[in-house]
Structures are given as C-alpha cells and as structure tokens.
Symmetry: C2
Subunit: 215 residues, 2 copies
Amino acid sequence: MTGVTASDGPDASAPGDGTARRRGRPPRTESAGTRDRILGAAREEFSARGYEKTSVRGIAKSAGVDSALVHHYFGTKEQVFEAAVEGAFAPVLAARDTVLDAPLDEVGERMTRMIIGLWENPVTRAPLLAIVRSAVNNETAAGVFRRLVASQLLRRIAGQIDSPDAELRAELAAAQLVGIAMIRYVIRVEPLASADPEQIIRRVAPVVQGHLTGP
Amino acid sequence: MTGVTASDGPDASAPGDGTARRRGRPPRTESAGTRDRILGAAREEFSARGYEKTSVRGIAKSAGVDSALVHHYFGTKEQVFEAAVEGAFAPVLAARDTVLDAPLDEVGERMTRMIIGLWENPVTRAPLLAIVRSAVNNETAAGVFRRLVASQLLRRIAGQIDSPDAELRAELAAAQLVGIAMIRYVIRVEPLASADPEQIIRRVAPVVQGHLTGP
C-alpha cells in the first residue's frame, strides 16, 4: 500500500464528476500565499457559519481579496467547500495510510485510534465538527462528504478486506465510530462524553475489527 | 417492567431542571384542539427550518394564533421545541417499552429493529431527521436531545443491565445505531444507504447485544 499517497493525485484532481478544481493552475510561486489565505478564510467561514450561510463574497472579504479571485482559484462555492474540507481532511488521510499499513488483524484498533485521536485533538476536532454540521444540513455538503469519506477512506479500507461485502463491512465499522463521535463530541451525552479515551478504544476496537474481518 | 409507562408521568412533567412545561394546565376540553394545532405547526416549522431559524412568532402565524397563546401553552421556544420533539419521540418511547419487555439476551436485536424500523418509516423518519439536524447545530436543541435520549431511553435500557458501566454500555450500543442512521439515512453513503434492512439487522444486532451484555 505504499502507492496510496502517490495515487491520490489523479483521483482527487480528476474525479470525472464535474468537481475538478482549478487549484494549482495559477503559477505557484506568485499565488500560493493568496490561495492559502483564501483557503484559511474559507475554513473559518464554513466552520463558523456552516455551508449554507457562507458565501464566496464573505470568504473573499475575510481574505481581503476580490470575489473573482476566489472563483479564479477554486471555482464555485461547492468547490471552495470541497477544497476546505479536503484540507481539514488531510490529517485523516495521513492517518489512513498508517491504518492501511497495519496487519489486517490490527486495522480495527488502528482505525479506532485514528478516529478517536482526531476528535480528541482540538485542532482537528473543530474542522471535523464543521464538516459534520454542514453535511447533516446541506445536500451539497453531504455530497462532498460522501465523495471524500467514501472514495478516499472507506473504499481504501474495504480494498484490504477479502470479502464480497467489504464495502458494507467498512461502513458498518465506520458507523460505530461515527456514532461515538456524534454522542461523545457533537451531542455530548454522558457518561460517554467524559469517558477515558483508552476505555472507549478498548471496548470499540474489537467491534470495529469484527465488522471488518469477523464471520 | 410493566410500570415503565406509568412512571413516565412524574419524570416527564417535573424534570427539576427548569424545563417544566405548561402543557395540560389549561382545561383540556376547550384547549386541546388549539394546543394540538400549535404543536403540529411547531413540528412543521422546526422540521423545515431547524431550531435556530424557527421563531415562536412563525409557529403562531402558521397555526393561525397569537404568539402569546404559544407562550401560554408551552412557554419559551426551547419548551415548544421540547414538546415537539417529545411528540416526535413518542413512537421511540412506545417502541422502547417493547425493547425493555424482552429477555435480556434479545434486547440487542429488539433495540436494533426498533431504531432501523423508525428510520425506515418515512412518517417517523422526517421528525427524527429534524431532531438530529437541530441537535447537531444548536446547543439548546442538543440539550433537549440529551435529556430525552439519555433519561428516557438510554438510562432505562441501562437499568436492565447488571454492570457498573451499564450506562456506558448502553451508549456504545446506541452509538452503533446512531452511526448507521447517520451514514444510511442522513448522509446516505452507499452501499449502506441501499442495503437490505434485514441484512443490516443481522450484522448489527449481535454487536449491539455484545455492547449491552458482552464481557
């Protein structure tokens, strides 16, 4: 699975479903600073307001540039959102490779540790929370979430499993972790909200592993 | 567990955390129709707009009454929301009693069937979706969700389990089902979104049972 990172390029930049982004097309030397500033502003706007209430104009204003420049670098609001989500998703994708490098009988625990770890860290939690909030409330944002989670994460994990229902297995495993994120970090129901992360991992990793490779 | 329904009364009407509602105080004979009309309007408004964008004024207008009457019957917007959610939650609470009446080694399957059944039925799915959307985006709505789900559902299920970590077990079981609801019904990621409900129940019921009563 060492080729995973290298193969992200073509997948991400030419998904063939009309979501190709313009990022990277302007010469990087003169535009990287502006592009990053726009992306940072986009992340903050989407986090604070959610997808629906955020506008390209608001992002441009917050980044101190003209709206046309936002369109130039990213395209539509959906495409700015996708780029922002992809940035917020980068730690997930980096952690994913660690998960995929593990022996198959350890993938359950690695996957559980990855997700709990990302939600425990305030730096990665905030954008994840913004993604969940947007995806739950807006069909366009849900579509971006589906493309990223399904194609970049779950399908890769399913690819490790030798079973005709590998994708369903990966999703049921993900469902256990998504539910914990919802109850612990989003809605914050006790006692799960205050439970020791290691206690959760101890109880949940075998369940995740069972979904992936159990009978 | 035949006393479960009877004991809902005091719990629900006097939670002792400032959420006591005024419902039922006006003489039922002359007010039931108006109260129900307001509640129906509230449910529609909250479903369509979510908690934040809904106003008591909007609910009153949609019900064809004065805002003061909404306050008279229900109190604050939070209290109207709680009454509306409680109404939408009634099928869950009814189904809960069936779950609690089951032998302990069948609770996992009954709980799984209950939740999948409620989400499969479009009549109960719409208000559940509205509750999830509001709770994810608004702290007040999340609080209502916590009170209802934690005290009316999870604590009752935990009460059946003879273990010091019974509540955590109930929440981890609930997390599996919440995650499936999120992936299948809210975000709708394939193949889980189109999988046969019986296939899901077959795979998930043992996991839910394992959380509740496993080692």
